[in-house]
């Protein structure tokens, strides 16, 4: 069964996003929230890393984007914007949740 990985720190502050990418398996999902949302924005130094993760579905928490003044147009194509209801659904749908803190 696939796993849900959560990342809540900016990739420019901590290495948790990079660690997550090194461990995430094909077919799993990554949810970026809190300052982790910066990993989902276009034109940064880590954009390529996210795009090179094969077979991994990325989600970003919409309310945390909005709280930081970032519009949906700033999100990398293919990253799905979700709300808290979808966050709960993702946690329930995946067999494990791994928090990279």
């Amino acid at each position: 069964m696939s796993e849900l990985h959560t990342v809540n720190k900016s990739p420019f502050e901590k290495s948790s996003f990079a660690s997550c990418l090194e461990h995430v398996l094909e077919g799993s999902a990554v949810l970026l929230y809190e300052d982790g949302i910066y990993a989902a924005t276009k034109g940064t130094a880590v954009e390529g890393k996210l795009k090179s993760a094969q077979g991994v579905k990325f989600y970003v928490l919409g309310p945390d984007l909005k709280a930081r003044g970032l519009g949906e147009d700033r999100v990398i194509d293919g990253v799905e914007i979700v709300d808290y209801e979808a966050f709960v659904d993702l946690a329930a749908e995946h067999s494990k949740v791994v928090a990279w803190v």
């Binding site: 809540n8 929230y33 309310p63 209801e85 946690a91 803190v101």
Partner: protein, 130 residues
């Protein structure tokens, strides 16, 4: 589905307590069960009744307490983390010779076994914080 929640950050520190609260509230509203909310490390500071934020700011402690009251949540503060940070209930005050208590009545202080039990009894353990 049965969830357990672990919070490792204090209120107003970053965003973990807010994220955990919103996740917990949403899960409950969707009909899921929250087996326990365990406050660990600086997260124990979410359980002091003396918290007094400005009136136009969210009251993180009372918000947890109100959600706990509404859904009869088990809000547990780690005892060793609490002792280090001066979060005290009647039992700990007596045991350690303290002249006051500050735990919010909707929370309780207990040991790490409560976290292990929550992880075993729940289908998912959600960790928020540093």
């Amino acid at each position: 589905m049965k969830f357990a929640i672990q919070i490792n950050e204090g209120p107003y520190q970053h965003q973990a307590s807010d994220s955990a609260y919103l996740f917990t509230k949403t899960a409950l509203e969707k009909g899921h069960e929250i087996f326990r909310v365990f406050f660990y490390h600086d997260g124990v500071n979410n359980g002091t009744r003396l918290t007094t934020p400005p009136q136009d700011d969210r009251h993180v402690v009372n918000r947890w307490a109100e959600l706990g009251e509404k859904y009869d949540l088990d809000l547990v503060v780690c005892v060793a983390a609490a002792q280090r940070r001066g979060i005290v209930d009647d039992g700990e005050a007596e045991r350690n010779g303290k002249d006051a208590t500050n735990i919010h009545p909707r929370f309780r202080i207990s040991g790490l076994g409560q976290l292990v039990e929550a992880a075993i009894q729940s289908e998912r353990l959600m960790v928020f914080g540093d």
